[in-house]
């Protein structure tokens, strides 16, 4: 049977993905260009037994999202720019307490209010380093409306599997564009639910990891009475001032993500086998990059696309293959040079030239701009 095809807006596809993944709670605060996610879920969630709440600000929205997850519901919140800054405090709490949830950041331009209705990609570093302290981070960067749906499902899966807040780092262009989407039927995409304890409640240790580095998580109200705190804590969940143990636990948290790099990091590599030039592009910028590469290839230029769908953890392992192999890497991004810093870190001077295309004028980076850059070095 032919799959149902729907013509969806990018933000709408996020909602479809969330519902597919089993999300039944949303707490948010409206902000352009993410607002459609809230509006659509306000209408859709009750139809699947879920609830929606518009909180007084993004600080409270992030808090309620975590609270909903602690009580056992897959929970989502969506925001942009200034709202993402406000979420940082409780996002850090979510990392330290290992509470699964998904945060959608539909990136717009500028610090502060900036260019509210235009696209941007300048929250790349914030997604990794925005809250204080050391912590692992996972952020996904879809490029198409289809991927908005599928990556939202994947974001929930990663968050549930590894007990970590996951950021869907999309942007205004994909958030607001409309494309045909093949609607997945139940069973088409994997849906992961968090591990819950099966032991006697008396023996439950909420932060005692199993072999995969992740501890089973009990829902509040399920008979497992336990303590959650944003203080560094022991396996039993209670605070401890022991710095050595705190360090060991934070390293364990980092490792639960880095040890599963192969399951978490997805990269789309196109025309890279014989490539002398690599274009490293993500999100909406990767769309222009893809076209530019096709055009350059038609002219006989050996150029390929490296498109991370997982930007955090950074795709080190995938990228390292091109060490001492490609002559140039071009990194187009709608910021003044962020992902390029990571590319340079990974390549460790093994690529003669790593060049950025940087634009923060609220306009997309066009195919022609990228094509010209590819040809420049010839």
């Amino acid at each position: 049977m032919a799959k149902e095809v729907k013509f969806l807006q990018g933000n709408e596809a996020v909602c479809e993905g969330a519902l597919y993944a089993g999300c039944t709670f949303y707490a948010g605060y409206p902000i352009t260009p993410s607002t459609e996610v809230a509006e659509i879920l306000a209408a859709r969630l009750p139809k699947v037994g879920g609830r929606f709440v518009q909180m007084e600000d993004e600080i409270a929205a992030m808090a309620a999202t975590l609270g909903g997850s602690i009580a056992g519901r897959k929970s989502l919140t969506a925001t942009s720019g200034p709202g993402m800054s406000l979420k940082m405090e409780n996002l850090g709490y979510g990392y330290l307490t290992e509470v699964p949830c998904v945060i959608v950041n539909v990136m717009r331009g500028g610090p502060s209010t900036g260019l509210p209705t235009g696209p941007g990609q300048s929250d790349i570093m914030q997604a990794k380093w925005g809250t204080h302290g050391d912590h692992p981070a996972v952020a996904l960067t879809p490029s198409t409306v289809q991927e908005q749906l599928e990556e939202t499902v994947r974001a929930f899966n990663i968050s549930e599997k590894y007990r970590i807040p996951v950021i869907l780092l999309t942007d205004e262009i994909i958030g607001h564009m409309r494309e045909a989407v093949n609607m997945p039927e139940p069973g088409d995409l994997e849906v992961v639910d968090r591990k819950r304890p099966t032991c006697d409640p008396k023996d439950y240790l909420p932060y005692k990891p199993e072999a995969d580095g992740v501890a089973p998580m009990a829902d509040f109200g399920s008979g497992y009475r336990y303590h959650i705190t944003g203080l560094n804590h022991l396996e039993d969940g209670f605070p401890s001032n022991d710095g050595k143990l705190a360090q060991a636990d934070e390293i364990r948290q980092e490792k639960k993500i880095t040890d599963h790099y192969d399951e978490i990091v997805v990269v789309d590599e196109m025309d890279t086998d014989d490539a002398e030039i690599l274009v490293f592009a993500f999100g909406s910028t990767a769309r222009s990059a893809k076209e530019a590469i096709k055009m350059a290839r038609a002219e006989g230029i050996k150029v390929g696309l490296f498109r991370p769908l997982t930007i955090w953890p950074f795709p080190d392992k995938h990228l390292q293959k091109y060490k001492n192999k490609v002559k140039r890497i071009i990194v187009p991004e709608m910021n003044l040079g962020m992902a390029i810093l990571e590319v340079k870190r990974v390549m460790e001077g093994t690529v003669p030239s790593i060049e950025g295309i940087n634009q923060i004028d609220s306009e997309p980076i066009t195919t022609i701009t990228i094509l010209n850059k590819i040809k420049e070095g010839k």
Binding site: F25, A27, V53, M55, I59, A63, G68, F220, H227, I228
Partner: protein
């Protein structure tokens, strides 16, 4: 026979972190007697808190306990309650936690009238950080950040809650341990957002600087300056000056947020 608090306390978590003479132990005991008196099932009982001395209380109680970020107790509590309305959620915090950094969440939880019991421990000071002035520090009082006396105006937490729409608002003090227990019971039983402001002594952060160093002296002060609401209403403004009413200050029947939401969206 002495009341057995142990059944609601977590084994091995006492001694608590509070200073000798801190009022918070009295409040914890009243809370335990209240939830016990109501026969509440510990599995269905949730405590959330922010950051501060008051907010360390949930760690000692054998329930589902969530020690969150400074001022955000009510945001987390709202998520828990909306995910599982069948749970009894008690959100607590200090005067700074609930009315300074968490003030926005506090007034909006009142307005929403969500069925959460909010206990505000008012010691007129930021205790945990060593005695800086808070939104409830009296005018002219000394704090580490008001070495010349406090120039700032004071919040009346109970009035703030009433103004913001809470449907049950009460005030008590650590002198009134038994009436406090009854008010907490009433607050828990009330359907809707209920607030109990509890005046407590912080001998370390507030008392020392304001010539109230003895914990007993601070409790004496509470006794001398609190007036039962019934009597309060009969007093002239002159008689009321410098004193504060205690007891149930406001109670009304009003649609509860989640019930109203569920009815609106066709979930109930």
């Amino acid at each position: 026979m002495a009341y057995d608090y142990a059944k609601y306390l977590r084994a091995g978590k006492i001694p608590h972190i509070w200073c000798p003479g801190c009022g918070y132990g009295i409040i914890m005991k009243s809370i335990i007697r209240a939830v016990d008196g109501l026969g509440m099932n510990k599995d269905d009982l949730v405590f959330t808190s922010g950051i501060g001395c008051a907010s360390r209380l949930p760690g000692y109680i054998d329930a589902n306990t969530l020690h969150t970020t400074h001022g955000r107790s009510l945001g987390f509590a709202t998520g828990v309650k909306m995910a599982k309305p069948e749970l009894n959620v008690i959100a607590l915090g200090g005067d700074g936690d609930m009315t300074a950094i968490g003030g926005n969440h506090f007034i909006h939880a009142c307005r929403r009238n969500i069925d959460i019991t909010c206990l505000v421990f008012n010691n007129y000071i930021y205790g945990m950080t060593g005695g800086q002035y808070s939104p409830t520090t009296p005018k002219a009082a000394r704090a580490t950040t008001s070495p010349y006396g406090n120039s700032d105006n004071q919040f009346d937490i109970a009035q703030l809650a009433i103004g913001a729409g809470a449907s049950f608002v009460a005030r008590s003090t650590t002198y009134h341990a038994v009436p406090m227990e009854k008010l907490i019971k009433q607050a828990i039983e009330h359907k809707g957002f209920s607030v109990v402001e509890i005046i407590a002594g912080c001998p370390t952060g507030y008392g020392r600087k304001n010539k109230l160093a003895s914990p007993a002296g601070m409790i004496e002060w509470q006794k001398a300056n609190s007036v039962n609401k019934v009597q309060w209403d009969k007093m002239t403004a002159e008689e009321q000056a410098g004193k504060f009413p205690i007891g149930v200050l406001h109670q009304e029947e009003k649609p509860e947020f989640i019930e109203a939401y569920d009815a609106n969206v066709g979930l109930s």
